[in-house]
Structure formats: structure tokens, C-alpha cells
């Protein structure tokens, strides 16, 4: 087991190096650099910068160097724990990201827990009460849930809240709380706001998970051991929860690793629509403004989270299922 984990951990730096090259290639790919778009923005607002000033700035940020040199510099500073300076905000990237990373993670974890709390009981109910009215309702709900784009759901909920309840549900904090330092009141305020984006994120995931749980459990329920358990006179609840539900659960655990990164990525669009303080909108802005070191740093974080997520699910699965452990 330890060997298995160590093997996977050793692969992590290699993957990160490959991803960092890929990301750097992408973020510096657009024609021009931050300074050209900066100059364009200034020009459109009426003021202007001289060519000499631009050239000086370009030298200062190292944007005049060949690409491999730029990449090398970026990597060296990354290894020193320095994510670079945001060209647009003129602040260290680590500060900008750090403020929002925790909220991103909190939102993802919150909706993740919500998903599983709804999906597992719903899946078990659907499978044990196959072809009941509620099963059909859940099935329809699941199909529609999978078919609805996240941002669409967010829009509809925001619209309903705005025009029927006169609520503005954007952001994660009330206006007077946003700038305050952390306190109990601020945490309560966060809880008041986080449920809507979390629900939006959870609905698509719930739909998928319920379907998988239902199908897995139906497969298990037809097996002879379930009949044996019933024949022994076990109560129906115990029969279902004790054996088949646990077995049906296993394949789901293996998908946690894909699901978590999907949540981080998925929250990107929802966060943009709902104007949440999340690294998603930060990335979007950085990409549009060619703030390449900020965009690169955020993309690297996404990659890191994805790899760690996959690793976690592999380890979880190996812990749960001895057959996989032995196969290694």
C-alpha cells in the first residue's frame, strides 16, 4: 500500500512539469502581450503611453526575452514559492489567489457534501422502489438536471429570486460584510449566501450520481446473496444497507477524484455568472487581459487540484477494494 502511494506521488512532479510547459505555451500564445492590451485600454480611455515607456516596462517584466528564457525564469521563481507579480493589479499573485482560493475550496466542498447527501439516499430509494411514482419523478429530474448547463440554472434561480422575492443573490457576502475581517458573524453571513451557488453546482452532480447509484444498486439487488439475506429473515432495511448498498457505493468512490476537479472547474462559470469572489472570475479576467503570470498560476493550481483529486480517489479505492490493491 505504502509503495503504491509512493509510486503515485513520485509521478506528481513529472506531471506538474509537463503541465507547466503546456500552460506556459497557452498563456503566452495570444499575439502581443499584456502591455499591448494595456496600451490599447489606455488609448481607448483617452490617455496614452510613449513607446519608450512601454519598452522600459517590457524590459522590467522580462517580456522582451525569448520564450524559453521567460519560461525558465517563471519556473525558477515558482520553485522559490514565488507566483510572480500580477501585471494588471500590480500585486503579488499569491495574495490575489490566496484571498479567493479558500472561498473556492469552501464552495466546492460545500456543494460536494450537498451532492452526496442528496444523491445517495435518492439513488437507494429509486432502486428499492423501482417504477414507483417518486422513482419516475427522480428520473425525470435527473435527466433535466444533467441537460441544464450550470450557468443557465444560476441565471434562472437568480431571476426568480430577483423578480419574485426581490432578493439579490449575487456574491458570497452581504455588502457590509465583504470587507470585514473574519468573525463568527461573517461566517454566518457566508452560510446565508453560499447555499444558492452550492445548490446550482450540486444539482448536475446529484443528477449524475443518483443515476449511477440506482443502476449499481439494481445490479446488486438481483444477486443471490440478497435473497439469502432475506430468507434468513433480515429486515429489508438491514438487507439493503448492509451489503448491496456498500458494494454499489464502491464504484462511486472511484469517481470522487474526477468529481472534485470538475467541481472546481464547474464553479468557474457559475462564479462568473453569480459574481462570486472565486478564482474562476479572476482567471477569466486574467486571460482576457493577458495577465499571463496570474493566469498561469491559476491554471497550475487547477492542474494541481486535478492531479491530487485523481490521486486521492486511487488511494481511496485501493483502501476500499483489496482486489485493486493486489493487482498493483
Amino acid at each position: 500500500m505504502a509503495r503504491f502511494i509512493i509510486q503515485r506521488l513520485m509521478l506528481l512532479p513529472l506531471l506538474m512539469v509537463i503541465f507547466s510547459i503546456m500552460i506556459f505555451a497557452i498563456v503566452q500564445a495570444p499575439p502581443g502581450d499584456f502591455l499591448t492590451s494595456y496600451a490599447a485600454t489606455l488609448a481607448s480611455s483617452g490617455s496614452s503611453v510613449s513607446m519608450e515607456q512601454l519598452e522600459a516596462l517590457r524590459q522590467q517584466y522580462g517580456l522582451d526575452q525569448p520564450i524559453p528564457v521567460q519560461y525558465y525564469r517563471w519556473m525558477v521563481s515558482l520553485l522559490h514559492g514565488d507566483l510572480g507579480l500580477s501585471l494588471e493589479y500590480q500585486r503579488p499573485n499569491i495574495e490575489l489567489i490566496g484571498e479567493q482560493l479558500w472561498l473556492t475550496l469552501a464552495l466546492a466542498v460545500f456543494s460536494f457534501v450537498l451532492t452526496w447527501l442528496i444523491a445517495i439516499p435518492a439513488g437507494i430509494y429509486s432502486a428499492t422502489h423501482q417504477r414507483s411514482v417518486l422513482d419516475y419523478v427522480l428520473t425525470v429530474f435527473n435527466y433535466v438536471g444533467v441537460a441544464t448547463p450550470n450557468f443557465m440554472l444560476a441565471l434562472v434561480l437568480m431571476w426568480v429570486a430577483f423578480s419574485y422575492f426581490d432578493l439579490s443573490v449575487t456574491g458570497l457576502f452581504s455588502a457590509d460584510m465583504a470587507g470585514q475581517p473574519w468573525s463568527w458573524a461573517k461566517f454566518v453571513d457566508l452560510l446565508k449566501h453560499v447555499w444558492l451557488p452550492a445548490t446550482v453546482l450540486a444539482i448536475a452532480g446529484t443528477a449524475r450520481l443518483t443515476r449511477v447509484m440506482r443502476a449499481n444498486l439494481l445490479d446488486e439487488l438481483n444477486k443471490p446473496y440478497v435473497m439469502t439475506a432475506r430468507a434468513k429473515g433480515m429486515s429489508e432495511w438491514r438487507v439493503v444497507l448492509r451489503y448491496p448498498a456498500r458494494l454499489a457505493f464502491n464504484p462511486l468512490v472511484s469517481t470522487i477524484g474526477w468529481y472534485l476537479p470538475q467541481l472546481f472547474s464547474g464553479s468557474l462559470i457559475v462564479a462568473t455568472v453569480m459574481n462570486l469572489p472565486n478564482i474562476g472570475p479572476l482567471l477569466l479576467r486574467a486571460l482576457v487581459n493577458q495577465d499571463m503570470y496570474l493566469a498561469g498560476a491559476i491554471l497550475l493550481i487547477y492542474c494541481f487540484l486535478t492531479i491530487v483529486g485523481t490521486l486521492l480517489s486511487d488511494i481511496l479505492l485501493a483502501v476500499l477494494d483489496p482486489r485493486i490493491r493486489m493487482g498493483q
Binding site: 506531471l15 509537463i18 503541465f19 500552460i23 497557452i26 498563456v27 500564445a29 495570444p30 499575439p31 435527466y143 433535466v144 444533467v146 441537460a147 441544464t148 448547463p149 450550470n150 450557468f151 443557465m152 441565471l155 434562472v156 437568480m158 431571476w159 430577483f162 423578480s163 439579490s168 449575487t170 476537479p261 472546481f264 472547474s265 464547474g266 468557474l268 462559470i269 462568473t272 455568472v273 482567471l283 477569466l284 486571460l287 482576457v288 493566469a295 491559476i298 491554471l299 487547477y302 492542474c303 487540484l305 486535478t306 492531479i307 485523481t310
Partner: protein, 379 residues
Amino acid sequence: MSTPQTKPVDPIIETESLVEERISVASNWTLVWWRFRKHHLAMASAAILMALYAIVLCPDFFSTQDPEFTEARQAFIPVQGVNFFDEGRLDPWVPAIVGKRNPVTLRMEWRTDPSQKVRVGFFVPGTEYKVLGLFKSNLHLIGSRDQSQRIFLLGSDRLGRDQWSRIMHGTQTSMTIGLVAVTLSVILGIVLGGISGYFGGWIDQFIQRLIELLQSVPTIPVWLALSAALPREWTPIQVFFAITIILSLIGWTTLGREVRGHFLALREEDFVLAAELAGCSRARIILRHMVPTFLSHIIATSSLAIPAMIINETSLSFLGLGIRPPAISWGVLLQEAQNIQTLALAPWLLIPGLLVIVAVLAFNLVGDGLRDASDPYSK
């Protein structure tokens, strides 16, 4: 019982054996079709998809007017519902729109007035367009009989453009993107998965590692970054193809895995050995003997992949990084609904989203039906 001994064969048994005979001589595809036909939801969804692709072929025929026609004085006109009967006779009409400026907000406020009727007709002449870029026509499926009178079947947007016509054109872009991106993924998946499964060895190892690498890429952020990297001055057509390529770059991996699995399983089969002994070339063995055995699975999997492509395209365009105006797609249309105040004023701007849901649902149901039908010998 006194059944006459002379009766030749029980008619029920006879029809059963006839059915059996039909099944035993039917080709694989006929069997798939028979099974698929039993799936009523999937059949209904297939009909919806066909209707949507009819729109893709010629959106101008289905629109009532030019989708780019701008008239700022006719902004945010609400939906004018079609009534088919007038005083008991079949005579379709839509209520006219009357506008009044609100003295406080200074905004035009529109409402429908059923007492004034605008006659609409089917197959009426209107603006001229080209069918598939070949021949000219000015016939429209539905439109106002009086050509000077504009009708807004699904309302108008902030620039006074007709949403119905824009949705028709958006359908063309969005549905095509899904199809083209999946086709590209299928080609990549079959070629690379096939090479990987058929040859094995280090090529297999390399492609498998590549797939693993691509699958651990966080898709949405990387898609965003790639689309942001597209030059601003590209034409809509160039952007369209770039977006499809971006979508399929990651989409092929699941298919590639599946194809490889099929090849690995089939490589050892006797019929492949027989074909090899008969002197078939490798390409012929792969294309003529191996691919047809799992083609139905591939089709089912890819029809389940199209909805994801459509949702991704819509999301990218919605964020302003996919298809860009003046090109029209469902995502571009939904961009109009981004602002919550606008949405409260003109909720019909969300209608393109309904279409996204319908299309995705239909693809999912057809895909499920195909997947169940693709293995005609299973129970």
C-alpha cells in the same frame, strides 16, 4: 378435446417460427433498428433531433426575418403568441404590439393587444436568402402576410432584433459544432485507439500515457485559456473551427480508450486470424472486419458525447470566449440574458437556454436508446 387431426400447424407456432426466422436472417443493423424502435422516448427524441437538423440545413426558411436586422425603437418587445383560429375559422394571427413610454423610467413599455390582429401565414414570401448557398428563395415557413409589419414570435432583444430568427440561426451553429466536434473526436479516437489496441507495445504505452495526461487536464479552465488565445481578428468561420478542434482535443480520449479495449478483445478472435491467413492487408482487417463489430457501440457513445460538446460550446460563448458576434449561437444569444436587471425586464431572453436543454435531453435519450439497442443479442 376433439380437435381435428387434419389441422396442419398451430397458427401461433407458425407466426412465432416466422418471427424467429426473420430474426435469424436479419442483419445486425436491422436488429439494432428493431430494438431501438421499441424505445418510445428515444424515437420521439430522434424526431426532435431531425427537426433541429432540418433547421440546421436552412435556418433562413424557418426564420421570419433577417436575424441581424436592428431597430433600436423596437427593443424588448415581448413574445407575440400565435393564435391559429379567428372566429371559428383557421386564420392564424398574432396580437399587435402597442408601446407606451413610462413617464418615470422613460423606458418603452410594450404590451400585446389582442383587439388588433396581425395576420400571419405559412409559406409566405419575405426576405431573400440562399438555400445551402446554391439557389435563391424568398419563401418562409411562417411570417407576417403584410411584409411591412414585423412580427416577434419569441420577442426581441435589446437591439430590436427578432429572437425567433436569431434562435434559428443559432441552432445552425450550435448543433453543427456538436456534430463536427464529435466527428473529429471519433476519428481521432478510432485512429489512435485502434493503433494503440492493434499494435500494442511501446506505441500502446505512449498513447495510453497521453490519454491519461489529457484526462487529468482540468477541462474548463484549459478550454477557456485556449479560446482566449485565439486571435481577435479571426473570421467567425476560423473561430468556429478552432473551437471545434479545442473541444475535440480532449473529447477523443474516452472514445480512444473504448476503441482500444474493443481491439484488444478482438485481436485474438478467430475471424481476425482467418482474415490474416486469407492475406488481407492490415487496413482491410481493421476497417472491414474489426470496426463493423463495434461500430454501433461507437455511435452510441458518440451520440452521448454530443450533448457535452453543446453545453461546453454554450458555456464558452456565454463567457464571451467561444463563438463571437456577429456569428450567432445559443451561447451568444444567452449572453444577452447575462444581466439580471435585463432579465427581469425581458425574461424571454432565456428561451435559447430552453432549446439547449431540449437538444441535450434529446441527444441523451437517443444515446441511451442506441446504447441499449447496440447489442442486439443481449437480453
